[in-house]
Subunit: 327 residues, 2 copies
Amino acid sequence: MRAVVLTEFGEPDVLRISDINVPAPADDEVLVKVAATALNRADMLQRRGLYPNPFPAKHNVPGLEFAGTVVAAGRHAGRWKINDKVMGIVAGGAYAEYLTVPAEQAFRTPHGMSLVDAAAIPEVFITAWDALVVQGGLQPGGRALVHAGASGVGTAAIQLCRAMGVWIAVTCSTNKTQACRDLGANLVIDYTKDDFATAISEATSGQGVNVVLDVVGGDYVARNVACLAHKGRIMQVGVMAGPPASFNIASLMPKRASITGTVLRPRPPAEKIAVSRAFADALLPEFDAGVLRPIIDCRYDLTQIVDAHRHMEANANIGKIVVTIAP
Amino acid sequence: MRAVVLTEFGEPDVLRISDINVPAPADDEVLVKVAATALNRADMLQRRGLYPNPFPAKHNVPGLEFAGTVVAAGRHAGRWKINDKVMGIVAGGAYAEYLTVPAEQAFRTPHGMSLVDAAAIPEVFITAWDALVVQGGLQPGGRALVHAGASGVGTAAIQLCRAMGVWIAVTCSTNKTQACRDLGANLVIDYTKDDFATAISEATSGQGVNVVLDVVGGDYVARNVACLAHKGRIMQVGVMAGPPASFNIASLMPKRASITGTVLRPRPPAEKIAVSRAFADALLPEFDAGVLRPIIDCRYDLTQIVDAHRHMEANANIGKIVVTIAP
């Protein structure tokens, strides 16, 4: 089968398509013919050699999410039958024509949605839902601040918050503000013009937000703390700007605030299954009903994977970059 | 009545005893004749003008905990009757012969324990229990690291952990190691000789601890993260060493770890009542049975309050410094 195999690390042009064997499903796994995958920031780090697969496979194939069709099943993978349409998260291996995944970790695709569109759902919607709601404890009537509002995770977070009655502010650059407003964000802060901590204070009359979802780190950390309400939580899902220049940990104390680091990929299979099943139960009906939908910036074919990575690194996308494999 | 009233900030000798009016209890309060109070690190900060009472009173009287006798009660303070022996936490006012406290916020003293000894219980046992168990989520079979093991909070934490079947490591200076061992700490790390992160890694075979209770901050923060197990939590109850020199927030992510700041004093009355009632229900039987006991370093009379503060600032105490008022 065709797959992108990492044999050296570096710029996008290290990504090359190789011919490798179709993997065989274990007893609890299904074999999926991949219709499409989608890019994530973690893929950029992995390509640079900075974020290896925590569960090393025979071939180093990137790709953290997929949608496709079940073509074979292990003896104890009875949840699915041949030709079922499934999607899900994996620790790697989705830049390929076929992948194996524990049957319980896959979930059905939304009614009436193409597999190519569905491939843009798993990583960012699970990340946003798990960080904001499951771990962050957001409740209807709460308030959230989400950085990179036009990113895959950002566009998922805006929809999730609006669907559950949470007030959401986002940050983004100038040319992405309208897209964030169109998705329903209550406050859109252009970080090239305004300090987000000041904007949050003004918009909330100094009350602050219950949860901050941050992918930036760096000098955002101290300002994130300033944005928090009493007992507020910062969920750190990335650190694109590196460690903070200075951060006074005592600032967490008067608010009884917290900072929690979180990741999906290194979670053991049992945890991935648990979060996937809970996500599917809670949110697939919302996708069926059209309340939630993946926001797709553009689609590339697998043969254009180098261009797809370059596009993500240009930081111009609004929503997900999808890679079609066998649509 | 006699009370220590702060009228200027600075070294211990700014503490002077004045004669002020006995406060009148509100409808939901009781008036307590104070037998004893005890010192806390927060008192040192308050004396220096760095930690004002979050609920400003007519007189600036320090003192965050008390044990004493009910001598009057408001109309809706039916929980207690005259001559009941009570103890509890307050936001200030305990360096005095009388104080008022919401009736629901006070709890009974342990059977067979003097009021003077009981005064050493509330702040440090509630702090340790709330941080380690309620917020930190420690369970029997878990592992904890507590800094300043010979402090009031440290000596409470050791007893709590051992009573609930939690493995506990503490740090302290050389001349306090034996006291920590005698209280039952599973691992005592002399921070003047050994790096605690290395010691924790060796003692737990690299597994780390579920909760770190830290009062130090500074360059402990990065090492605290290194000590954590998967999904471990750092509870920051003080920052005696100031902000961290450098701390990479990304280090929280692979472990899905968190840092939570926590304080007791600024909590609104409803929260103080909730934590006090839960504490009393959970742990007073353990004090009655002698499983838990306050560790008292020494006792001063209220007239010796300057010496008492100097003693705490010398960092030589093992356990609590009690101040008797009307024993």
